[in-house]
Symmetry: C2
Subunit: 338 residues, 2 copies
């Protein structure tokens, strides 16, 4: 391909603050397990003081995906917003260090860099509590038109619909991408996010979005059904590629209505599921940009997801380009229940 | 025991910035593998820009040990110095969150909070590059006399001898501890550190230090010998308890000259050895403070070390109090070569 970048991501620029906790702590703090809740600065301080010792790691859904694509050896770029503080430095460093083009300059005014307080329970599920900080000021002026035109795929996160000023920016970026003959991909991000922005997401999927990433529950909410097969069929009529993750069952790719089952890969010990969907998207998008057959794209997604859930943190610790699909063991449970 | 705290630690307050790298990168950057090098702010910026994506986790040798003791359920307190910046907040949060008494107030002037750029090679060894920042301003005024008197054990790190103003503080704390009838423990920290401060370390070990922590190489450097048995004997004449770690061979406790071999515990996959010695010290000191037999103290040390080397980061991710010595598998290599 003659484009400068394989994938350009636009998303929240977040540093994750990850701590272990038990289920009682989630109850005490009234945190819904497995979801993402937006919190204000006061709640962020209170929750941080209450939670256990943590590690910090750069995060943000689409940002994680871009890091994964670069880790596969792909050409990725990122647009987001940070403050000129220590966490902002950490975020930008981690993008550039893995090879993502990231020209984000930290603002010296306004709110602090976004952080997500992530609580990991013994079942390896993560519950995210996100203070968006300066990321909530993302606006059309942050979108570099030329960068969009030079990128084979544009990838946006549903979470940005929580940021009022970002919606215009994303719609503008999507139009620019399509006008340049490029592809537009969207992640539905989170079931609660689908509930909050249901009608807009429906119109995006029926409209500019060409490739959709969702997990099973998000897709069911999008189409307001309990029947996953019905949702698969409907998705097939609206996007050219649907990518639906099913946890340990693997994933389903829907290629112009045709279903391709992708197995999950076996993981010795699932430690922290943070970033699983993001890294799955990295594998699939990287494969698409490299022109690989879709089945192989899906398996790259499974491979990247398996790596990231085997340790704490939302991004690969092992360069993904070094992993080999043929070495991966298919999880025995994959599609068994189908 | 009637003291308020089991162990009071005085040490550098550092946030670790941990990245994977290959051996070529260490060569390119002229970094000696396995050691700790002090760097200035300029070098810290240059090295950070050159290194890969990282995660941040609170560190500092003695601080890690205090976190380990609290994780075992012991009463630990810490004295150190941070700036009122984001990394300073992270450091203090992580101490308090695990239950360490830490009254450190971030300074609003002076250098930034200390950080250590830690490069982990595929052999799981860590090479540390530490910018001490405000931690280099630790001074006698930071030592709370009452806190020292109320703590059964005082634990200091050899690294503090790199901080000119801290030496007086540590000598004062040691005298205060002994005058109150408490015990004084020291870690030799690092072979290069032993070389830098050889004569002072010899006089500390022959003098106020009652319990010494060292690894094999540090002990050999201290006594300027190649014969570990000779070093064990000499150590036995100078301290009432010597604790010498031997990597996969386990460790040797020297109880008033009597040798007690302690096995290492088996680890599925050694990921990052950062904090191994610190957590070994946590297990031993916790056991001593609780009045356990020395063999059991040593095994608690092995248990804590095995936990911390199985993941990235210098502090336990699993509460140590939940681990069970009897569940641990002894590493087959332990003491085999003896």
């Amino acid at each position: 391909m003659s484009n400068r970048y394989d994938v350009l991501g636009i998303g929240n620029a977040i540093v994750d603050v990850i701590a272990q906790c038990d289920d009682d702590f989630l109850d005490q703090e009234s945190i819904e397990k497995g979801g993402m809740t937006l919190i204000d600065e006061g709640r962020a301080k209170q929750l941080y003081a209450a939670m256990g010792p943590a590690i910090e790691a750069s995060g943000g859904s689409v940002a994680n995906t871009m890091a994964g694509i670069a880790s596969f050896g792909g050409q990725a770029a990122f647009i987001g917003k940070v403050h000129a503080d220590q966490l902002g430095d950490v975020f930008v460093h981690d993008m550039r260090a893995v090879g993502v083009a990231c020209d984000v300059v930290g603002a010296d005014q306004g709110p602090a860099t976004a952080r997500s307080l992530i609580l990991v329970t013994p079942d390896a599920q993560r519950s995210m509590n996100t203070f968006l900080g300066i990321s909530s000021l993302l606006e059309p002026g942050d979108v570099d038109e030329e960068l969009v035109a030079q990128s084979t795929l544009l990838f946006c996160e549903g979470y940005l619909w929580d940021v009022q000023s970002a919606k215009k920016a994303i719609r503008f970026a999507m139009e620019t991408s399509i006008a340049a003959g490029n592809r537009v991909a969207l992640s539905l991000s989170d079931t609660f996010c689908v509930d909050r922005h249901h009608d807009e997401f429906r119109s995006l999927v029926a409209g500019p979005v060409d490739t959709l990433f969702a997990n099973r529950d998000e897709l069911l909410r999008l189409y307001e059904t309990d029947d996953i097969d019905e949702a698969f069929v409907q998705l097939g009529t609206e996007v050219s590629l649907g990518c639906v993750t099913m946890g340990t069952l693997g994933s389903m790719l829907i290629d112009n209505g045709e279903q391709i089952k992708i197995p999950a890969y076996e993981v010795g010990s699932v430690v922290d599921t943070t970033g699983a969907g993001d890294q799955y998207a990295a594998g699939v998008l990287h494969g698409i940009a490299k022109g690989l057959p879709l089945g192989e794209c899906g398996r790259l997604g499974s491979l990247a997801a398996a790596e990231v859930i085997s340790h704490v943190g939302p991004r690969p610790l092992t360069p993904l380009a070094r992993l080999n699909i043929s070495d991966a063991t298919v999880d025995a449970r994959s599609w068994v229940s189908e």
